[in-house]
């Protein structure tokens, strides 16, 4: 962290952990007898406890959304450009709670955690959790923090799906749902990409049916491949071209299969660093909960009927070049909301950075969030 970064950031943050002994019955029918939730908070909860915002993370995110753990950290939390003093999610005004989801690998109970029933780590035995399960666990976290209702629940991608689920499951506990680069359910193509990613992991010879930690190894090749596939789909063709073009490390072709193009080097580097921080079983779990997300399923596939029970105000945001969660998918949510006469504002932000746009400090996007959260 340099001086300039420190000035604009919330600064040093410390993750906290809370234990939960009340069993959690999951959508799958499996019960999690006890679990821990790891989370960070930024800002101060006001006396009336009306200024709390819940940040929901996406597939590869965790609870470290803003600030630094150490002065030597090169990178801040994943949404530091958006959360902090004077930033769109202003820590001078709001109290922000950012948990790691169950099944994650950032500190909350997940595949890497110790399973009290078997005496070893959960690994592949960790039950598949759904977006609804996450909302339930986050609601229990809110109870412990004595937050009766959220001023806003917000997130991008899978995080946006959680915000949407919150508005359905706990209409009285959420005043604003900020749903960014999300969809009311995955498209067939999205499920297909997830399946390819999972196959890459599970086909790795080091996967060992998910018990790789017991063999002191990780299925790094498969996880890297999964990340590369994901990464490319989160960017746009135009964005990739603008950044890397056909640039090569050396001018001439070497007529082999080692890294020659900049894009190859970038993908490999990103994949390497991903393997260092992410667990393969968590990747499998998270992609599955994405696949399963479909809140209208229990309402005869009628999204309008599903959202009719909500009472939050909505801000829905999409990005023009996002083809993984295209603007048309956000518009499905907006249409269902306008059909039942809900308060909703929708914006399609012009951006060439694809799905990953939701993580970037795009001026129009941040101005919009700033304006919206300024009115809460």
């Amino acid at each position: 962290m340099n001086a300039n970064q420190a000035e604009k950031s919330i600064g040093i943050v410390i993750p906290k952990t809370l234990g939960f002994d009340q069993p959690l019955l999951l959508d799958s029918g499996v019960t999690l007898e006890s679990y821990e939730m790891c989370y960070e908070t930024y800002g101060t909860l006001n006396q009336d406890k009306t200024n709390a915002i819940l940040i929901c993370h996406a597939l590869s995110g965790d609870h470290h959304a803003a600030g630094y753990y150490d002065l030597k950290d090169k990178k801040p939390g994943w949404w530091d450009n958006c959360i902090g003093p004077g930033k769109p999610v202003d820590t001078n005004k709001f109290f922000i709670v950012s948990p790691n989801n169950l099944g994650g690998c950032g500190g909350s109970t997940g595949p890497l955690s110790h399973n009290p029933l078997s005496g070893r780590s959960y690994g592949p035995d960790f039950p598949i959790v759904t977006v609804r399960d996450w909302v339930e666990s986050q609601a229990r976290l809110a109870d412990k923090l004595e937050i009766e209702s959220w001023a806003a629940v917000m997130g991008g991608s899978l995080g946006g799906m959680q915000a949407l689920q919150w508005s359905i499951d706990y209409p009285k506990r959420i005043h604003h749902a900020i749903v960014i680069a999300a969809a009311p359910k995955l498209s067939t193509q999205n499920i297909a990409f997830n399946e390819i990613s999972r196959q890459a992991i599970m086909a790795d010879k080091d996967f060992h049916e998910g018990r790789y930690t017991e063999h002191n190894i990780v299925p790094s090749h498969g996880l890297k491949l999964a990340r590369m596939i994901g990464h490319v789909t989160y960017l746009s063709d135009g964005g990739l071209h603008a950044r890397f073009g056909r640039e090569r490390l050396e001018n001439n072709a070497r007529f082999g299969f080692n890294v020659e193009f900049e894009i190859e080097s970038y993908l490999r580097y990103q994949a390497e660093s991903f393997v260092e921080r992410f667990d393969a079983n968590t990747y499998l779990l998270m992609t599955r909960s994405l696949d399963y997300f479909d809140p209208a399923q229990n309402n005869n596939n009628d999204l309008k009927l599903t959202l009719a029970q909500t009472s939050a105000k909505f801000l829905v945001i999409s990005f023009s070049s996002d083809w993984r969660f295209a603007p048309s998918r956000s518009q499905e949510i907006v249409r269902a909301l306008t059909d039942c006469e809900k308060d909703v504002t929708y914006s399609e932000i012009k951006s060439e950075f694809g799905h990953d746009s939701f993580l970037l400090p795009i001026p129009d996007y941040h101005r919009l969030l700033h304006a919206y959260l300024g009115k809460i």
Partner: protein
């Protein structure tokens, strides 16, 4: 925002709108029209905008705004879902006004359209001098104007006749946004802005059922 602080044309339109009704405002700008209607007439509904700066302004006015390109249609709205669909000085800038009017009539029980009148004498004078009109109201030159479908009061009347649209009422404003009697008699020559209240075609199925 109060109705009396709106621009004259919007004040006139606001006076027609019933309390507690639902309004869709196409090309809603900074949302001040909807904000004033909400404050004084408990109106609900949405603004439609395309410009990011206006979206931000609407948010600051606490107006529900949907970023949509009107040229892509209004198919996301159900039949008769609004009491009023309003479009203020926007029709001349859209690609397919002919189709948008149909959509407005489908979605709204009543449609209010305002547009700059190309038949105004100042425009005619400039035409006589062999130039495309540039006026205080239409300040852009032909090569930079967003206004691609200009029409006159007579043109608009003809469109309504062709589509069998029921014109509930119309009124006209001059440069100073005043309603002068002479202008109501010779609107195509003297009016700078025309305001039309439209109902669905009398022979359409939709209006049949609404009369039933």
């Amino acid at each position: 925002m109060l109705i009396k602080n709106l621009r004259r044309e919007h004040i006139l339109v606001a006076n027609w709108i019933k309390k507690g009704s639902r309004v869709l405002d196409l090309g809603c700008g900074d949302g001040s029209f909807l904000a004033a209607l909400r404050t004084e007439k408990q109106v609900s509904g949405y603004g439609i905008e395309i410009d990011p700066a206006n979206i931000e302004a609407c948010i600051k006015n606490s107006v529900n705004v949907l970023q949509t390109n009107l040229d892509n249609g209004l198919h996301d709205f159900e039949n008769d879902s609004f009491d009023y669909v309003v479009m203020s000085q926007t029709i001349q800038a859209i690609n397919k006004p002919y189709e948008v009017i149909d959509e407005m009539l489908r979605i709204g029980k009543e449609v209010i359209v305002t547009f700059p009148n190309m038949g105004h004498w100042k425009c005619r004078l400039q035409f006589l001098m062999g130039k495309m009109p540039v006026t205080t109201h239409l300040p852009n030159t032909w090569y930079s104007t967003p206004n691609i479908h200009m029409c006159t009061v007579r043109d608009f009347n003809n469109l309504c006749r062709e589509k069998n649209i029921d014109i509930k009422s119309k009124t006209f404003l001059d440069t100073h946004h005043n309603q002068v009697i002479g202008m109501q008699l010779l609107p195509n020559l003297l009016a700078e802005i025309a305001i039309y209240r439209l109902n669905q075609p009398l022979d359409s199925q939709k209006s049949d059922s609404s009369f039933a």
